[in-house]
């Protein structure tokens, strides 16, 4: 897609924003200079068309109905001026109708025709309503891994984040592909591993796992409508939980991380077993289902504000903005839906984030930890940086001399303003590798955290100082969705994978 040259882009933006005649003339003069550049002309025309489309979609005054009313109103004005327009037209065309021999001779035939048409329309309406009911969306793709394809109605296409899912859609992930995250309407989310084929159903079972692995988290389900995942070898009926299903050629393996799942084999007369958290079981021919303790299979804990009652997430932005009014402490922002992180000439903003109350079972050993973040990003190549903080900061200190650019609490300052000291304010020598967020929209990134750091957060909550996000390059900026984001899915989530010492069960 060609982008307009900067000056032309700015001129066009000014014009589309209700520019004056002079603005439009400046634009036309600039446009005349590039009239031989077809790519620029295309970009210009497409931007104009998009502006128009946006008005059609968002502005009631520009809708098709409003346009129709406008035409009808002008037609009526014409009729007032020149008599009864429609009758005139009819009179003028009568002779031509005779010539074409298309005059309708039988009025009753017309009425019969209209009656038939009305019946057809009614039937079509009923059919449409029924069709639309059966074609309701059943969920959406929250995060898409590489090389994931969605088959629908015999055609396949690459899936994109936010794509709506319908019953009978088939998702295939490629080999070596990063997993995709799916959210179903029935309060279920799951991660799809590489080389997996899953069919979305809206029947007696919700999903059909044909191949590969799913990591599933399901909220409470109605008793008369259990959440069932079907594999070639078994049905897994979810009793409210988090679990993984893995399908090989001759077996289905179930690992339960939280609560319980009923595994019902297709062999042995449909024998079934309720598998508890911390256990796994296999369905395969000739072997009864037996639950065995999970060995070396990491359990997963997800901490996200509002999810399953978790309320320990805390994030805010410290800034140099309005420093002149706050003795250089800036105007710290709390409780926002999104935070701007920036390094502008005029001011800077840095985001502090911490997950408190990381309740894991005693002896839990953190194997890995990831931070799932959503961004709103309009530029490529943002110089976003992440660091572990090394000193305490108090989000409750909201007074003038409280948490800000200079102070981290009442009576306590950052070693350098903005928590800038790489040795005292931040953990020395460890930075957080950040993936580059996509350009525009809500884009998701999964940030790998140092397991040792997160282990310290779990073991010694008093040393949990969280992380800091900043922008290093002057002029760059990005928006991060915060724990107060209106949409639950946009809130940051800390995902910890951990193992338990032998003999303990997973009961977090």
């Amino acid at each position: 897609m060609t982008t307009l040259p900067q000056d032309l882009q700015e001129l066009l933006a000014r014009c589309l924003d209700g520019g004056s005649a002079g603005d439009w003339q400046s634009l036309h003069e600039r446009l005349a200079a590039v009239r031989d550049d077809s790519a620029i002309l295309d970009a210009y025309a497409e931007t104009c068309a998009l502006h128009h489309d946006l008005r059609c979609v968002l502005a009631p005054g520009a809708s098709s109905e409003a346009f129709l009313r406008g035409v009808e109103s002008k037609l009526n004005d014409q009729r007032k001026d020149s008599g009864r327009f429609v009758l005139e037209v009819a009179a003028r065309t009568r002779e031509q109708f005779k010539k074409r021999d298309r005059t309708v001779r039988n009025r009753s035939f017309v009425w019969a025709g209209w009656g038939a048409a009305a019946t057809v329309l009614l039937a079509a309406g009923i059919y449409f309503l029924q069709g639309s009911a059966s074609n309701r969306s059943i969920g959406r793709i929250v995060r898409v891994g590489s090389a994931a394809q969605l088959a629908r109605g015999g055609a396949e296409h690459s899936v994109s984040t936010g794509e709506i899912l319908f019953a009978d859609d088939i998702l295939r992930t490629g080999s070596g592909a990063e997993g995709s995250e799916i959210e179903l309407d029935e309060k279920a989310t799951f991660q799809v591993s590489a080389d997996t084929i899953v069919v979305f159903r809206k029947a007696s079972y919700a999903l059909e796992l044909k191949q590969g692995k799913l990591d599933i988290s399901v909220g409470p389900q109605p008793k008369d409508h259990p959440f069932i995942v079907r594999t070639p070898h078994a049905d897994a009926e979810v009793l409210g939980t988090h679990f993984a299903l893995e399908v090989d050629a001759d077996r289905t393996r179930l690992s339960v991380f939280e609560s319980r799942v009923r595994l019902k084999s297709v062999w042995d007369g449909g024998s079934n077993t309720v598998v508890q958290a911390g256990y796994s079981a296999e369905a395969r021919p000739g072997t009864p289902i037996v639950a065995i303790p999970l060995k070396d299979v990491p359990l997963v804990a997800v901490f996200q504000q509002g999810k399953k009652g978790y309320a320990g997430a805390c994030d805010l932005v410290i800034t140099t903005q309005n420093s002149e009014f706050t003795y250089n402490n800036g105007a710290t922002q709390f409780d926002a839906d999104q935070y701007l992180i920036c390094n502008f000439k005029e001011y800077q903003m840095r985001m502090l984030m911490r997950f408190e109350d990381l309740m894991l079972p005693a002896g839990a050993k953190v194997v890995s930890a990831e931070l799932d973040m959503k961004w709103e990003n309009w530029d490529t190549g943002q110089s976003l940086q992440g660091s572990y903080l090394n000193v305490a900061w108090n989000p409750k200190a909201r007074e003038l001399n409280g948490l800000g650019w200079i102070h981290r609490d009442v009576g306590a300052d950052w070693a350098m303003p903005g928590a800038s000291d790489d040795k005292k304010d931040r953990v020395s020598g460890i930075s957080i590798p950040l993936p580059t967020p996509g350009n525009a929209y809500v884009t998701a990134t999964r940030i790998s955290l140092d397991p040792a750091q997160v282990q310290r957060w779990v073991n010694a909550p008093a040393s949990n100082f969280g992380v800091l996000f900043s922008i290093s390059k002057r002029g760059d900026h990005i928006r991060a969705f915060a724990s107060h984001a209106a949409e639950q899915n946009n809130r940051p989530a800390l995902v910890i994978r951990y193992t338990l010492p032998d003999g303990n069960s997973a009961t977090h």
Partner: protein, 183 residues
């Protein structure tokens, strides 16, 4: 094959006239949004297209493609608008019109309804702040300065979000249209 709706309109059926506007307004408006000298006159020109067509309704051959007929009127209206605006100035309205007209593919207009569907889907993927800015600007018809005042941002930031957002929406629509085309 004769256009039945056109025949009914020629026979004086008001509902058929309404149906003609409903069926073809998207294509005509979209075409003119690319060709008109400025955004505010595109819809005025589109209304004039239908009024002109209805004035000569009885002369339209029902065997002809009505959409192409309407787009022909639209092309002429746009050309006249450029000429009128730059009749005695240094810029050649004709040249600019010809340059733009050569890029405005009538074939693309066939997918107009899809474009709006794609646009709705792409808008749903905008971040809440960006969407709020688009809503305030387009739905509430606030100027950038007014949006900025309401959101405690600078007008430059608002303009930047709108510009980049439109670029991103174009990208998104193209990607979706491309995906649909390969299905």
């Amino acid at each position: 094959m004769a256009d039945d709706v056109l025949l009914r309109a020629q026979g004086g059926d008001r509902s058929a006239i309404t149906a003609i506007v409903q069926e073809h307004q998207r294509a005509v408006r979209s075409y003119l949004s690319r060709l008109a000298p400025d955004a505010s006159t595109a819809d005025d020109l589109a209304q004039e297209v239908f009024l002109e067509a209805f004035q000569v309704l009885e002369r339209i051959d029902p065997q002809r493609d009505l959409r192409n007929y309407l787009l022909g009127i639209a092309r002429n209206r746009a050309r006249m608008a450029w000429r009128k605006q730059y009749s005695r100035r240094e810029i050649s309205g004709d040249e600019l019109f010809n340059a733009l007209e050569s890029r405005a593919s009538v074939e693309n207009l066939a997918t107009n309804d899809d474009r709006l569907e794609h646009l709705r889907a792409c808008l749903a993927r905008l971040g809440p702040k960006a969407l709020e800015i688009f809503q305030l600007h387009y739905n509430d018809e606030l100027r950038c300065e007014e949006v900025a005042e309401r959101l405690n941002m600078t007008a430059g930031s608002i303009r930047s979000v709108l510009t980049r957002g439109r670029d991103a929406l174009r990208n998104c629509i193209e990607a979706r249209a491309g995906g649909a085309a390969t299905q």
